[in-house]
């Protein structure tokens, strides 16, 4: 029992020790490409061991809200961390951006991303919108998160510039938090531009 406890404690401490939170403000370039301006309090989360191909910000903590950015995803690259292949097998699919995808195929990538853990995702309004300094798409979704049964509402924005995908998603619990935090997420998105 002591061995188990020690292992678990060390694992927990190791996780805590390497997680870092960085306050973001002012003008911020994500991967030197997508640039946003931040006037409200957002925190960038640096998760231990994460190889996710997006940057994650939050206001109230990741269980309550997140604002994710994908900056210049090239064709053939996944929008989520690729899973490892089992011995003698092949890796499970992960949603992957391919240049030339139609708008609804791009939206589908994010639907699969959020549904991949068994969560229930229902896409809502999908409409043309400005994003990243030009034409893009805005989509809404309802998300019942599998890991804790929380019902969230989400919004996404995406655009393709010079064959690369630029996107962002914001999600927060439907009750109270989405309504309170969404305007601040939209304010950040409104400033998004792509550096030439």
């Amino acid at each position: 029992m002591k061995t188990w406890a020690t292992v678990l404690l060390l694992a927990a401490l190791a996780g805590c020790a390497s997680t870092s939170i960085e306050q973001v403000d002012g003008e911020r370039a994500l991967d030197d490409s997508l640039v946003v301006r931040v006037d409200s309090a957002w925190n960038k989360m640096n998760l231990p061991g994460s190889k996710e191909p997006y940057e994650t910000w939050t206001q109230e903590g990741l269980t309550l809200d997140h604002l994710r950015f994908w900056s210049g995803v090239p064709s053939g690259q996944a929008i989520a961390q690729p899973a490892s292949a089992p011995a003698g097998g092949v890796a499970p699919r992960v949603p992957t951006f391919v240049s030339g995808m139609s708008p609804e195929q791009l939206v589908q990538l994010f639907e699969v991303l959020y549904a991949s853990d068994g969560s229930l995702v229902t896409m809502g309004r999908v409409a043309p919108a400005r994003f990243a300094g030009g034409d893009g798409l805005r989509f809404e979704f309802d998300w019942v998160r599998k890991e804790d049964d929380v019902q969230l509402k989400g919004v996404g924005w995406l655009a393709v510039r010079q064959g690369k995908l630029y996107a962002a998603t914001f999600a927060a619990p439907r009750l109270h938090f989405f309504g309170r935090l969404y305007p601040q997420a939209q304010a950040v998105i409104d400033t998004a531009t792509v550096r030439p």
Partner: protein, 395 residues
Amino acid sequence: MDADQHDGQPLNRRAWLRSGCAQCLALAAWVSQPAAAQTAEPLPGRFAKPAPDTDEGGIWALMDREETRLRRSPFVVRDDKLRAYLNNMVCRLGGEHCADVRVHVVRTPLFNATMAPNGMMQIWSGLLLRVENEAQLAAVVSHELAHYLERHALEQLQDAKSRSAFAQFIGVFGAVGALAQLGLLAGAFAFSREQESRADRLGVRLMQRASYDPTEAAKVWDNLLGELKVTGGEEAGQRSPMFATHPAVANRRDTLAELAGAGGGDRSNEGLRAVLAPHRNHWLQDEVKRGQYEESLVLFNRLLQQRAEAALLFSRGEVYRLRAGADDVPRALQDLQSAAAMPDAPHEVHRSLALLHRQREDRAAAVQAFERYLQLAPGASDAPLIERYLSELKS
């Protein structure tokens, strides 16, 4: 009790399929007893609720709290007809114990069923989508009932190692509120290979007593193996990273087939099909949204061999369309056109057809299909995007 496991990250597809195999049904060493002798053995009588100050009482209380949470969960399917159907099956299999068992259907597109010692059974929609008839569902339910009837959770609790691991589990996960995840809880409290074998043995016996065809139990495994092989290759199901105590999937399938003998009995599917019909299209779309297109194709091909139906053809067509592989466009077109021609086609099939026609630069067909979609679903949430497509196509 057994369950799917995940760690908050997107589930490894192979792991969840394999965990379903590994945890929900089992088989190993029960080959020697004649079937007639097994069937004649009486079942234990109903269990009294254990005293709260005992080990068993403690875990019952924990599971009661979990069940209270589950009843409020947005994932629970609230359908009186479906619940009544499943309760009837439990009564047919478990006799008087059905008064103590509650079945909850959970909308999650993964293969899984769990049984808690307090009588709470969970069946996930992904499992219900995969069974082909009532006997295959009865095979799963009877295995879960067998864990309950043999009180395997109590056995585990009485094992010192399990008890200490369980206590630590509660200490670690309870503190951050994840205790409510029965899957995690069950994972820390998994049954032994011997218990799984006993549950399979009793499960087949319950099927025989209830006049279900026990040969269908092995088919559940065989069907699952088909999906496992997509990512696991030909060796799929021989290894379990989570439970080294579990026999290989193919071995379990073979032993179950041997246990069932010549079989015979009920394997109808009309009743099951009728109660699942209101949910089927939603669950098929949940399956598509998993994004594991090759696994879904194995499933859809198998189900379409049983019966051609519009929702299935639409789902397979969607998988081809979304996968967009070398030969997928004509396949998608064929499935979607076949689905659209059927009287019970979901209206979304016209949207998918239109998108495919647009991709093929068949403007006239795309316009016609988009307009049909908007006609059938005037309030569609993606109408603004569709209107833009129509405007471009007509310009």
